[in-house]
Amino acid sequence: MWKRDEAVKPTSQPTPAAPVASNVQPSAPVAPQVEPRRIERDLVNIGKSVVIKGELSGSEDLTIEGQVEGKIELKDHLLTIGPNGRIKAQVFAKTVIVLGEVNGNVSASEKVEIRDGGSVDGDIISPRVAIAEGAHFRGSVDMQKKAGSSSASASTSSSVKTAPTPTVAQAAQPAAH
């Protein structure tokens, strides 16, 4: 009796145990709809010989192998400073990975990673920061969680400075704990 019920239910209609069923079964019919809408990430590269002076902003992931002076803004995207990249700029991105050299403040809403051989001279503001063995860093790290009102953190950032570059007035809120 039980076996027959179970065999019938999945094919005809969802079981009353909604949370479990929704995790497993509906995914199969929905999947074909999602697949065509899958976001394809274009990888944009700024080559070794390219020198940019000014403001660089965009809405896709970017890898820089050349030189940039000024400001880089990729608010919701990944910025990778390649091993040959030389940046003299304020950097704003979702995630920043540094393998080259950055001279300036780095602000990321998600994560900043300085990999082996990478160098940052400036202040970092990010909820997560990873500094690898062999990386160079001079400045301050502000890991205050959650970007909230701009006033609270701006005062903290401006009161303490170590890097030669001007401090960033970046929104951040004191940690909950």
Partner: protein
């Protein structure tokens, strides 16, 4: 015989267990937990780290305290002074080394940086730390108590936080070795008007000290 062999081998192995997976030895620390506890209740504290930067430490303090960490690696200053033969100018260098405002820092991690300084340079650095510290701010410092053995190894120690009771000591090359240890009273004088609130003498001949700057008014009496 066989059993005793087994036990003796095991005893021999015990120190290696301390070494841990990353090869560098792990030592216990008593003062770090007190340092963290002192900063725990503060909203967005500012921490000044005078040792070499390490990702694990940044993550540990950042996540634990939600703080801003300023890294001012003094080992590089010492190395430069030794190479340029300007070691006698270190006291003057320290006086203008820190751009931070007076009373802007909640906690200072000195680690064992004072062991590499002579008396004048150490006093100059200590006075800067006192200047930077907020009322009720705390300073963690380690001092060697034993005279360094003659071929003094020219190594710094990277203190990597494993947890609040353990530090991994990772040596790395230095331009000079540890200097003559300071007497306890010299340490106290150097850091005046800070008070020593915690002090531990470890088996490793290292003195772990927690200093605290007196707060204004009634808060002072509570410590």
């Amino acid at each position: 015989m066989a059993f005793s062999d087994l036990f003796s081998r095991r005893r021999k192995d015990e120190p290696d267990h301390d070494t841990g997976a990353a090869k560098a030895p792990v030592h216990s620390t008593k003062v770090l937990a007190k340092f963290i506890a002192s900063l725990n209740g503060r909203t967005s504290p500012v921490l000044l780290d005078l040792g070499s930067v390490h990702g694990a430490n940044v993550t540990f303090f950042g996540e634990r305290l939600g703080c801003k960490i300023i890294v001012e690696d003094l080992s590089k200053d010492i190395d430069r002074a030794v190479k340029d033969k300007t070691i006698t100018e270190l006291p003057a260098h320290f006086k203008k080394r820190f751009a931070q405002e007076d009373g802007s820092v909640d906690g200072v991690l000195c680690w064992d940086m004072f062991d590499y300084l002579d008396k004048h340079a150490a006093a100059a650095l200590a006075s800067q730390i006192v200047r930077l510290l907020k009322p009720e701010g705390v300073v963690l410092a380690f001092f060697n108590t034993a005279e360094p053995k003659e071929p003094v190894p020219a190594v710094y120690t990277k203190h990597i936080v494993v947890d609040q009771a353990h530090l991994q000591y990772r040596p790395y090359p230095a331009a000079r070795g540890k200097q003559k240890p300071f007497q306890n009273r010299d340490i106290q004088r150097m850091f005046e008007p800070l008070r020593i609130t915690e002090q531990f003498l470890l088996k490793s001949q290292q003195r772990e000290v927690l200093f605290r700057k007196a707060g204004g008014g009634a808060a002072d009496a509570s410590v």
